[in-house]
């Protein structure tokens, strides 16, 4: 392989030779299986960043090549896919893993092979893995995310909150955390049901929730099951408040349900502002006005990786690991676009990237630091931003 590359380099004109070997990055998203409704746009967001970096001349003159694989939303398939990315494509970073089980399965391969991993998984346990710095996530952990959601519910004046949650790694920790926050604010978590998300009807689960007579229900699942639950809540004549995570209550959910059913549902997402240039640019690129948090995060993950490589002047996973916090946070000039950032870095300036998903500042174990959250409400089948803070 080395010889082949050398021969190509010799045969090529001198200008190409100066550009050096391409930088190889990996995208590992759920294209099939339970995460299939998220993966495709996550992948597009990553591809978009790579295309723009290449159109702008690459990173320090080196082209970026993206290798993509499918986790099949299954840890076993994810491990095989990651092995291919690491051993065959020789990527220095893997971006966009979803579902805690897939991320936790892939993470050891990454840190053992010194490959940088960026993920959207929110389960608290992920950043506690012994990853030696080779992992960051753009999704706030359950503790932070539910803390903010709970505070928002207190602001709304919800007194009796019920949780309807899909069986996921964050279901139980979320419920416990929400109980604490509500209690501290004088409200109450009056109960919760954890359901099997592959069922096609949840009428009896909803009866259990309604029996408790809540004034707010937290729908803690993913889009397919939350769609069903929301429809059934409407049918059951539930008139109280609803709140869901923005990755579940997203544009696709609104499109597949009549406006009456979704009316008034609150959503929470980590985000700077829908008015940020990064968000608007990504929305335009993906051709949709409302972005789900995962595609925003994937856009930022790819941008951060590219900028870290430019900053380090080295495309290895270790270099990315060491440089990522130098471009994601600190006193440098704020940039919201990867191409602008590359230009500033080339001019020798310091930068602080703030993307479509938020400020992207990380603590030592790779968790996202307190970030702004965006609170929205569904009104007449569309999202209306209530506040950012």
């Amino acid at each position: 392989m080395g010889t082949a590359a050398a021969v190509t380099a010799l045969a090529a004109p001198s200008i190409v030779r100066a550009q050096g070997e391409p930088i190889r990055l990996g995208a590992l998203n759920p294209l099939t299986g339970a995460g299939g409704s998220y993966g495709p746009t996550m992948r597009k967001a990553i591809e978009g960043v790579v295309d723009r970096v290449n159109a702008a001349g690459g990173i320090n003159g080196r082209k970026v090549e993206l290798a993509g694989e499918d986790t099949q939303t299954n840890p076993d398939a994810a491990v095989r896919a990651a092995r291919k990315l690491i051993d065959v494509d020789k990527v220095s970073a893997i971006m966009g893993t979803w579902a805690s089980a897939c991320t936790t399965a892939v993470a050891p391969l990454c840190w053992e092979s010194k490959v940088f991993l960026t993920t959207v998984s929110g389960s608290d346990t992920i950043t506690k893995l012994p990853h030696q710095g080779y992992l960051v996530r753009t999704q706030p952990n359950t503790h932070l995310q539910i803390g903010r959601l709970g505070e928002f519910l207190l602001e709304l004046g919800s007194k009796k909150v019920f949780v309807l949650a899909a069986q996921t790694p964050f279901a139980l920790p979320s419920q416990e955390r929400l109980g604490e926050v509500l209690k501290a604010g004088g409200s109450e978590l009056i109960g919760g049901v954890i359901y099997d998300k592959d069922k096609t009807t949840f009428r009896s689960e909803i009866d259990q929730a309604l029996k408790a007579n809540p004034d707010m229900i937290y729908l803690n699942g993913y889009t397919p099951d939350v769609t069903i639950v929301m429809r059934e809540l409407y049918k059951a004549g539930y008139e109280g408040g609803k709140i869901g995570q923005a990755y579940a209550v997203n544009k696709k959910l609104l499109e597949s349900l009549p406006a009456d059913v979704t009316e008034g549902c609150y959503t929470v997402a980590p985000s700077p502002s829908v008015n940020s240039a990064a968000y608007k640019r990504l929305a335009e690129f993906l051709g949709k006005p409302d972005l789900d948090p995962y595609s925003c995060q994937c856009n930022d993950q790819a941008s951060l990786v590219c900028l870290a490589i430019a900053k380090a002047g080295d495309a290895s996973g270790t270099a990315i690991k060491d440089a990522v916090r130098k471009i994601s946070q600190g006193p440098g000039e704020k940039v919201d676009d990867v191409v602008d950032g590359l230009k500033l870095l080339a001019a020798g300036k310091d930068i602080n990237y703030e993307g479509a998903s938020g400020a992207c500042d990380f603590d030592d174990i790779g968790d996202i630091l307190t970030t702004n959250f965006r609170y929205e409400q569904v009104q007449k089948g569309a999202f209306k931003t209530l506040k950012v803070g």
Binding site: G68, P75, R83, I86, T104, A105, E112, P169, A171
Partner: protein
């Protein structure tokens, strides 16, 4: 690339062990077991919990994982002993789902859907990842060789003949004085032990197990592997598993070259190719690549002198 091939051979070996276990239950004794992944998970959890939580040595965990899966298999076989094939298929499928659901919900024991991470592996961390891969491949290869050797012995032994007789017609076997149920339960337990062994090794190889990894799709892959390799043939089980992993992996490279597709279409195309390839193999070779060949029975020479000439 070398490391990738080594890793995939490890996967093929572990799938091969599962296929060998299935071959005992299905190929030799004629019982359908669509709950493979449940016994695989059982072995994996037993070994992971013993080594990670109680700190017992890996070899002990692996042996206990196999024994635990055998015990689970024995229970399932006794409960289902009277069921006919098609029913057994659905009950065992259900068993594997019950195992997965239990592992998801009994958080105190299994850590729920978060799974168990940091399962120790032989020399993991003390050698480079590449060396670990090679060591594990060697380990899996040795285990597969031993299991094939032992199962071949079983197959050729009178015991194996009884199992085949039961498979082909259990009433005739019963009339011939064989306690059909005892043989069936034993065969089921033996097969499950091999499957559990595979699960235990799997956990020590990937260092992480979670309920999401133990979905019926794995069972489907193994059943297809054994069918493609040759039901009833131990070598076929191993060959079929290598073939299935080869299909799953080579399709990544095939679909990469198709232009103008979105990522999700590439992923869909890949799975279509895997399914399609297996259908084609089954169509072209209904008995699998290595069809079952019944062991030659040595008859007294005086009765059949022509047999001597043939050999």
């Amino acid at each position: 690339m070398e490391n990738y091939i080594v890793a995939m051979l490890v996967f093929a070996g572990l799938y091969g062990l599962m296929a060998l276990g299935l071959n005992v239950v299905w190929g030799m004794a004629g019982m359908i077991n669509l709950g493979l992944v449940g016994f695989f998970a059982f072995g994996a959890y037993v070994s992971a919990l013993l080594t990670k939580v109680l700190g017992l040595p890996i070899w002990f965990g692996v042996v206990a994982g196999a024994a635990g899966a055998a015990a689970a298999g024995m229970v399932v076989a006794m409960v289902t002993a009277k069921l006919r094939g098609d029913y057994l298929a659905i009950v065992t499928l259900g068993f594997s789902e019950v195992i997965r659901i239990t592992a998801s919900n009994e958080i105190w024991l299994t850590n729920g859907t978060d799974g168990i991470s940091g399962i120790p592996g032989p020399l993991r961390g003390q050698v480079t990842p590449e060396a670990f891969n090679l060591i594990f491949l060697a380990l899996v290869a040795v285990v597969v060789a031993i299991v094939v050797f032992l199962l071949q012995r079983v197959r050729h032994a009178p015991y194996g003949r009884v199992l085949r007789a039961i498979r082909d017609d259990d009433q005739v076997a019963a009339v011939a004085g064989k306690t059909v149920i005892r043989f069936k339960v034993e065969a089921f337990a033996l097969g499950c032990a091999v499957i559990g062994l595979s699960g235990a090794l799997y956990g020590h190889y990937t260092s992480y197990i979670a309920p999401d990894g133990f979905v019926p799709l794995i069972t489907i892959y193994i059943v297809l592997a054994l069918t493609a390799g040759g039901t009833g043939n131990n070598y076929g089980a191993v060959v079929g598993s290598v073939l299935v992993v080869f299909f799953m992996e080579s399709t990544r490279f095939l679909t990469e070259v198709v232009p103008g597709l979105q990522a999700v279409q590439v992923a869909a195309l890949r799975e279509m190719l895997i399914g399609g390839a297996l259908i084609v193999i089954m169509r072209l070779r209904p008995g699998g690549l290595l069809p079952e060949r019944l062991p030659r029975i040595d008859l007294p020479e005086s009765n059949l002198p022509q047999e001597k000439k043939a050999t």
